[in-house]
């Protein structure tokens, strides 16, 4: 029997690329040998007269470049199609631009507010929130923000949705006052003639920039504008760049200086019309926020200051200022509280302030069952902790699967390694066939086998071991997941074990026995220690694969047999909490990479065998 030399077909102990490397290295040494010897007698020259050393270095450099040129296309391909997505996911797990993009003025106004004092924010914050929320509601972006903040503080979603509906009517009396005063206030042309001029480009640019960010048309991200280029290659609509937006009018610098709020609100209106409605300011009268802003500006100016203003329609403005003195100023605080009394509490303001920075650890805290509190990160309440449990369960079940695989795989690998080649090859088919069969086929097979009306229960009932009304529940729980995944991952355990066991000479066991060891001792002291590398390799492989499994737990796992990956999928496709999904994914990725690193140290990536 030639067990010693026979390298089985499935694991033909293929030398690794590493070997080729060493081989060529020695070849090179040999090639260099004579050259070194002759160095004392002056440099050896190549045929064209250059020193051989130089010529060799040049040849090597060319070779190196050629190798890199061959690798480069694939490397770029993998970097773009695979590594960039992973980087994007990591970025998303901390990215939190939505609050700052949707509520920029509010974030700025709250920056100086002391959230711990227990006092409500100043009036300026309410006013800032009005102008932010008005634009966001017009662009229908406020619900998205509400949803985002709802992950952190339940109730924010309905708060934003409700107030978003009411925000049009804030300051209604003042708006009507203006409109009743002079019909021209309702004419688009009047507004254009009042605000047009030159020198206000900066205000318009700021409004463009702001709206593009709000509408998520920007090209931000780790690679910034590079997105745009990549998008263009694939023919997708590229991000809207601020220069391309034609507003149909230019702002007067004087007007912007005297009426800063109005200029800002009107500029935003103009950008909204251009981008969202694809019209210009000439097509419609401004929205309420512009009137409210004008009201604020007129009140801020003294009559003397206004008298000094000599821009277009100055007369109308002066008349408006006089008329507005009869109505009270807009009370934003009262209006917000009237819309939803939660605005009168510190809680929503604190949430906005906490999540205003562009990057947050909030998702990661969430992923480990923690939350931000005034006193720093703290664990959630007992009944709200789900991810710790889920991570524990994922680890526990992956370990169970790994152990089951060792338990079932070890005897089979031993048998395969010790049978004559022909028989072993035949039996190997039984291992390789499941390995090559579609994952979905195997999962559906287990559904067929394990369900209550399934094959196993039918057989047990037929044999009389189980009563017909007492059929075992083997699916939609942890048992189902463990059985099905053990079956699916078993080949990944058998194949490395087999390749290790093949290299162990059977004479060792015989020697141990002839020296007086019982079969058990011989196995324990001689055979088993030699198979430990195989067990290690197989275990890490199975564990890495098991910990990130999605399909099988989803189908046979029910509610108690699911993994963390199922939760990630849920957050991506159902709850749409992408940040949390990305954070959970990042944690899982770190675990897998640590294991991968260990695998590389123990086995080496180059030694990954494909069982075929």
């Amino acid at each position: 029997m030639s067990r010693l030399s026979s390298s089985g077909p499935q694991t033909a102990d293929a030398p690794t690329p590493e070997d080729a490397f060493h081989e060529t290295a020695t070849l090179d040494d040999r090639a260099r040998g004579p050259q070194r010897g002759t160095e004392a007698d002056g440099p050896m020259l190549a045929a064209d007269g250059t020193p051989l050393k130089k010529s060799l270095a040049r040849a090597l450099r060319a070779q190196k470049l050629r190798a890199l040129a061959l690798i480069a296309p694939l490397l770029i391909f993998v970097l773009v199609t695979f590594i960039a997505p992973i980087a994007d996911m990591l970025f998303r797990s901390v990215e939190n631009q939505i609050v700052r993009d949707t509520l920029p003025r509010t974030s700025a106004a709250l920056a100086t507010w002391d959230a711990e004092s227990g006092d409500l924010p100043p009036d300026s914050a309410f006013e800032a929130l009005y102008s932010d929320l008005f634009l966001a509601a017009e662009a229908r972006r406020h619900t998205r923000l509400g949803q985002r903040l709802n992950y952190e503080n339940t109730g924010m979603s309905s708060l934003f949705r409700g107030t978003g509906r009411d925000v049009d009517d804030f300051g209604e009396a003042n708006v009507e006052m203006l409109e009743d005063l002079d019909d021209r206030w309702e004419e688009a042309e009047f507004w254009i003639s009042m605000t047009s001029g030159t020198g206000g480009a900066a205000v318009l640019d700021a409004a463009r920039e702001r709206f593009i960010r709000l509408d998520d048309l920007s090209t931000r991200g780790p690679l910034g504008d590079a997105w745009c280029g990549v998008k263009g290659v694939f023919g997708a609509p590229c991000a809207v760049s601020a220069e391309d937006v034609d507003l149909g009018f230019t702002l007067s610098g004087d007007f912007a200086e005297t009426f800063p709020r109005t200029a800002e609100a009107y500029a935003e209106f103009a950008v909204f019309m251009a981008i969202e409605e694809e019209e210009t300011v000439a097509d419609d009268e401004p929205w309420e926020a512009v009137y409210v802003a004008l009201d604020r500006d007129l009140r801020a100016l003294s009559p003397e200051e206004l008298a000094a203003y000599d821009g277009p329609e100055a007369e109308a403005l002066r008349a408006a200022q006089a008329a507005l003195a009869d109505v009270p100023p807009v009370d934003f605080r009262a209006a917000f509280v009237a819309s939803d009394e939660d605005w009168g509490t510190v809680e929503p303001w604190r949430t906005i302030r906490t999540y205003a920075p562009p990057y947050t650890t909030g998702y990661f805290l969430n992923a480990v069952d923690m939350q931000k509190t005034p006193d720093g990160p703290a664990l959630r309440d007992e009944d709200e902790r789900i991810y710790g449990l889920l991570f524990q369960r994922t680890l526990f079940m992956s370990l169970m699967i790994t152990f089951s695989c060792i338990l079932l795989g070890y005897p089979v690998a031993w048998l395969l390694a010790n049978l004559p080649m022909r028989t072993a090859n035949l039996l190997m088919i039984l291992v390789l066939l499941p390995f090559w069969t579609s994952l979905l086929v195997r999962t559906s097979a287990w559904k067929v086998m394990l369900q209550q009306q399934g094959v196993i229960n039918d057989v047990l009932v037929w044999l009389g071991l189980v009563a017909d009304d007492g059929r075992l529940i083997m699916i939609n729980n942890q048992f189902g997941t463990i059985v099905a995944m053990t079956h699916i991952l078993l080949p990944f355990m058998i194949l490395p074990l087999y390749s290790v066991m093949q290299t162990i000479p059977p004479s060792y066991m015989r020697a141990a026995k002839s020296l007086g060891a019982t079969p058990l001792t011989a196995f324990r002291r001689v055979y088993f220690p030699q198979t430990v590398p195989g067990i290690g390799a197989g275990s890490i492989l199975v564990f890495i694969l098991a910990i990130g499994y999605y399909i099988t737990p989803e189908i046979v796992g029910g509610t108690t047999g699911t993994f963390i990956s199922n939760r990630i999928a849920y957050h991506i496709s159902s709850s749409l909490n992408w940040g949390l999904a990305a954070a959970l994914g990042s944690i899982l990725l770190v675990v897998v990479l640590v294991l991968y690193w260990a695998y590389d140290k123990i086995v080496g990536i180059d030694n990954v065998k494909l069982g075929g």
Partner: protein
Amino acid sequence: MSDGIAITGAKTLPFSFTLPVVGAAGALFGLFAGTAQGATLLGVLGGAAICAALAWAALSLAGVERERAVKWGVIALFALAGLLVGRIAGAIVGALFGWFLGWFIYWIGRGRYRMFLPPYLTAGEVLWHYTFRVICGAVFVFLITPILVVMPLSFNAENFFTFTPEMLAFDPEGYSLKHYRDFFTSADWQQALRNSILIAPVATLLAVSFGTLAAIGLSSEHVPFRQAIMAVLISPMIVPLIISAAGMYFFYSRIGLQGTYLGVVLAHAALGIPFVIITVTATLVGFDRSLTRAAANLGANPVTTFRRVQMPLILPGVISGGLFAFITSFDEVVVVIFVGSANQQTLPWQMFTGLREQISPTILAVATILVCISIALLTTVEILRRRSERLRGMSPG
């Protein structure tokens, strides 16, 4: 350990050993047969008695000379008994049991179980040897049964996931091809099949062409940062699919590739690349570099050398890498669910929705077809691997 050569002589063992062993086996089967008929104790006793009696009759009355006749007789006897109890299915089970019993009686009674084992083994060691075989057999059954069970069920005439009584009675009425007809006529399944066929080969082509070039580059000496490059290229295989899927979903929707055919193809190509890299670098290891030098020496330019010398030799590795990439894409479901849209619904995706929502045996028909495809692919890879080893002058498997 069996070498195929008998190293211990066979002899008729005393009845004090044979009868209890055969009787115990009979009792075990009697237990099942009895419970199925509702009389456990009777089954155990009857089974033990019948089997022990048969063993005695076979070994002492008929003897070794008429072994063949006795075996057929036992098969006929149990087939008939099974026919009376459970019609055709019973007859088949009975015949199988009769075949086993006939063999078992002579195997035990004549001491044939020791024939291929060294004579010095103790009884305990012999027992362990066969127990071990049975354990391994059970694991093989565990490995292969789910795949085998799917096949007959796909011919079910009913819309169930289980064996109907008609199927167990081998009634032709219980079988039909309707699920296969379903598969070939349903617009959903056909669309899925078309998508799978459109996506997998293109992804494979991308993976193989980029992968082979890079593998050749990686195998040449003095590649800087070889370890780091290798780690990057292999990473799609190591990173859990759900993470790749999540990342690709986020990133591809940023750059407008989410929900497009191109996006799915690129994603699948990325997933297939590690397999191509691994198989082709493994093939290149045995590649004799002096061949390319000889070709260059004889005046071939690098392209010709590659086309005429290197490629034919590494072709088996390239093809088997390609098959791995193909099966990866063809079988992939997590990434396509996230990166694709309804228009890119592939076969595995359709199966996945089928399993989650409406359960139809059409899935089993598709599964059977896929198993046949896997068998074909497995055979191809195996043949190629052997050919490759032969070409490279390594041990022919």
